[in-house]
């Protein structure tokens, strides 16, 4: 039995292989137009869904190319690594990656570049193996802008404090650092208990904010960094009945913050629009695909990236910084609801 059975499977295998070989020989993969694929940290969350709208928009504007966005279903750098590796093997011409963890992707991206794949990254200004890393804005300018908005609300005086996701989060520390520098202009502003760690947890932030409100009943302002911080602090301000008396400016997204913005518990939120960042990444990828140069002050044709600064990045690649910062309040957030 076993021998006959083997003959059967062998026959089957041979037949399948022959079919495959014929097909393989007769056609080449993706002969029409170049492919640009955007790989995000994780798919199915609002931030990257918003980015996908930008990628889709860009695809509409460039029908001659195959443009799409993919991302892992779980937040794991190993899963993102697999997707990127498969895309390289598939022969994708350009990759626009938002690295989950820049370090984990270094080895693979190097091999991709060596093989001739165009590699563009976003939110990874320490990525060595990339041809261009796109940042929405200069971190120091963003921190200054947030603080300026806070100072305006506080009337340039009173006690204020800061929140960061964690002390190890480089961008958050840059934001509050720039904020502190800006506040130094105003002698009336007094920084108390700075750099509270929120770990991007709205509940934890709420507890910490309550403690701070108790410890400093005369506090006038909060500047926060991680996406959920405004929600926690906003809730604490609202429950303490201090809406309108205490100012809160921080990084946040319009949709979750809408209720607090309406009530006035959140003064203003700052962010960058992932839709525009997605389009800018694809545009840079297209320029590089066509052998173009990235020059200081060039216009990427995307709002907030009309005059980008181009400098040397962490590796051989360029660091492209736009002016895509958005600060919205009660009256303006509806224009960018996502």
């Amino acid at each position: 039995m076993t021998t006959r059975h083997h003959a059967l499977t062998t026959g089957l295998k041979a037949a399948l292989l022959t079919t495959v070989m014929t097909v393989a020989g007769s056609a080449a993969w993706a002969q029409d137009g170049k492919t640009i694929t955007t790989v995000v940290k994780i798919s199915g969350i609002p931030w990257f869904d918003r980015m996908e709208t930008g990628v889709d928009l860009y695809a509409e504007e460039h029908p001659e190319m195959t443009i799409s966005q993919v991302g892992p279903a779980t937040a794991d750098s190993a899963q993102q690594l697999q997707i990127v590796q498969d895309l390289i093997a598939r022969g994708t011409d350009a990759l626009a990656v938002v690295p989950m963890d820049p370090g984990v992707l270094e080895g693979l991206l190097k091999r991709a570049i060596d093989r001739g794949t165009i590699v563009v990254t976003h939110e990874a200004d320490n990525q060595v193996n990339t041809m261009a890393n796109i940042e929405a804005f200069d971190n120091a300018e963003y921190g200054t802008a947030l603080n300026e908005r806070l100072a305006e609300c506080m009337g340039q005086e009173g006690k204020w404090t800061t929140f960061v996701g964690s002390l190890g989060s480089r961008t958050h520390m840059q934001w509050v650092g720039a904020g502190e520098e800006n506040a130094a202009k105003y002698p009336g502003m007094e920084l108390v208990d700075p750099n509270n760690e929120s770990f991007d947890d709205a509940n934890g932030t709420y507890e910490t904010a309550k403690e701070i409100l108790r410890k400093h009943p005369d506090i006038k302002g909060f500047q926060t960094s991680a996406g959920n911080d405004v929600l926690g602090v906003g809730r604490a301000i609202e429950e303490a009945g201090l809406t309108g008396k205490v100012c809160l400016v921080g990084t946040g997204l319009p949709n979750p913050s809408a209720a607090y913005l309406d009530s006035g518990a959140i003064t203003a939120i700052g962010f960058w629009d992932p839709q525009k960042a997605g389009m800018a990444m694809n545009e840079v990828a297209r320029i590089l695909l066509e052998g173009g140069e990235l020059t200081d002050g060039m216009d990427l044709g995307v709002e907030g990236y009309e005059s980008v600064s181009v400098t040397q990045g962490a590796g051989d690649g360029k660091l492209v910084v736009g002016n895509g910062m958005v600060i919205v309040d009660k009256d303006t957030y509806a224009e960018r609801l996502f």
């Binding site: 006959r4 499977t9 399948l16 750098s77 963890d101 370090g103 091999r111």
Partner: protein
């Protein structure tokens, strides 16, 4: 001899997936570059799955949840030691050797710890390894300060993760060699036989005078060693190691073991099936990435695949089908 249903299904599936991939991608799926690329992705998860298989074979609810945490900890710890001792650019060979040995030693020690907790203190494996998983992750976080640690790409190490010999990735060859060696150990040595018998009937094993503590400890130690080797391959591929790499591997490794027909109650499991199951899973995920489907579809496909394999095992489908043609069965002594 009863046919190994899982082996047969896995073989057919690999062929079908390869053919399907070739069809939908106009052959690009079967290009040497993609085959190599897929082969380099298999070893790290495959080694962890073999570890899970060994733990399952030991019976008594055996499982090793600490695999990927152990691999990351090994990479981080050995990386710190190797970096402090040698300069990767000046002494690449020594650096690689130190790093590789370090990974294996840390992995082995962590595995022995698992084994001792489970066998000496009689802690249920799922709880013990859940605990050590957190412990290993914690150690890796503390050692690396929560950041990714750059191991670098000195030549021998880089070749280990990315080089090819006769068109086959070196890491894949290592994986297969380890698989063959382990299969031989399980089949030919007294340890292998005792492991399977202990798993099949722990009580009978005790009354037969088997030294259960030693068998269990050895099993988890091997599983730990495999995790350490996975750590080497991860570092070689990615240049960097990080404590939270591959958090999704935990369940995927178990999925592979179950697909391979390893009996969760213990006493039965074949290394060749685990290797094939890892390959099938890789083919499936790469295929879905090639088509450009959402990664949520992949989870769905994996789930369906798992259920199908459970059905094949539960209802003994392959042998039932074969039973319709009894005349074709040659007379042969039962194994």
């Amino acid at each position: 001899m009863r046919r190994d249903a899982n082996l047969l299904v896995l073989c057919v599936l690999s062929v079908v997936l390869l053919a399907l991939g070739g069809l939908v991608s106009d052959g690009a799926f079967l290009s040497p570059f993609n085959l190599q690329s897929m082969a380099t992705q298999v070893p790290e998860i495959g080694l962890l799955a073999i570890g899970v298989m060994l733990a399952m074979c030991a019976g008594n609810g055996g499982i090793d949840l600490s695999g990927i945490a152990n691999a990351n900890m090994s990479g981080v710890a050995a990386g710190i030691v190797a970096i402090s001792l040698f300069d990767a650019t000046e002494a690449p060979a020594l650096f690689t050797l130190t790093f590789a040995l370090g990974c294996m030693i840390v992995g082995l020690l962590a595995g022995i710890l698992n084994g001792i907790i489970i066998s000496r203190f009689n802690i249920t494996p799922i709880l013990a390894t859940l605990g050590t998983q957190m412990l290993f992750t914690g150690v890796a976080v503390v050692l690396s300060d929560g950041r990714s640690l750059t191991i670098g790409a000195p030549d021998p190490l880089y070749a280990l993760g990315n080089g090819v010999v006769f068109g086959l990735p070196i890491s894949f060859l290592i994986f297969v060699a380890i698989g063959i060696a382990l299969a031989a150990v399980l089949r030919l040595t007294p340890y292998g036989m005792r492991l399977m018998l202990t798993g099949a009937n722990p009580k009978a094993a005790v009354y037969s005078g088997f030294r259960g503590v030693r068998i269990i400890t050895t099993t988890y130690a091997i599983s730990g060693l495999l995790a350490g080797i996975a750590g080497i391959i991860i570092a070689a591929r990615n240049v960097n190691v990080k404590w939270d790499y591959g958090t999704s591997y935990l369940l995927v490794a178990i999925l592979i073991a179950v697909m391979a027909g390893v009996r969760p109650q213990g006493g039965h499991g074949r290394v060749v099936n685990v290797i094939l199951a890892a390959v099938v899973l890789q083919l499936l995920s790469s295929l879905l990435n090639f088509i450009g489907l959402s990664n949520f579809v992949r989870d769905l496909a994996w789930g369906i695949l798992l259920l199908c394999f459970l059905a094949v095992a539960r209802f003994d489908l392959i042998n039932q089908i074969a039973a319709f043609a009894p005349s074709r069965r040659l007379p042969r002594a039962a194994e």
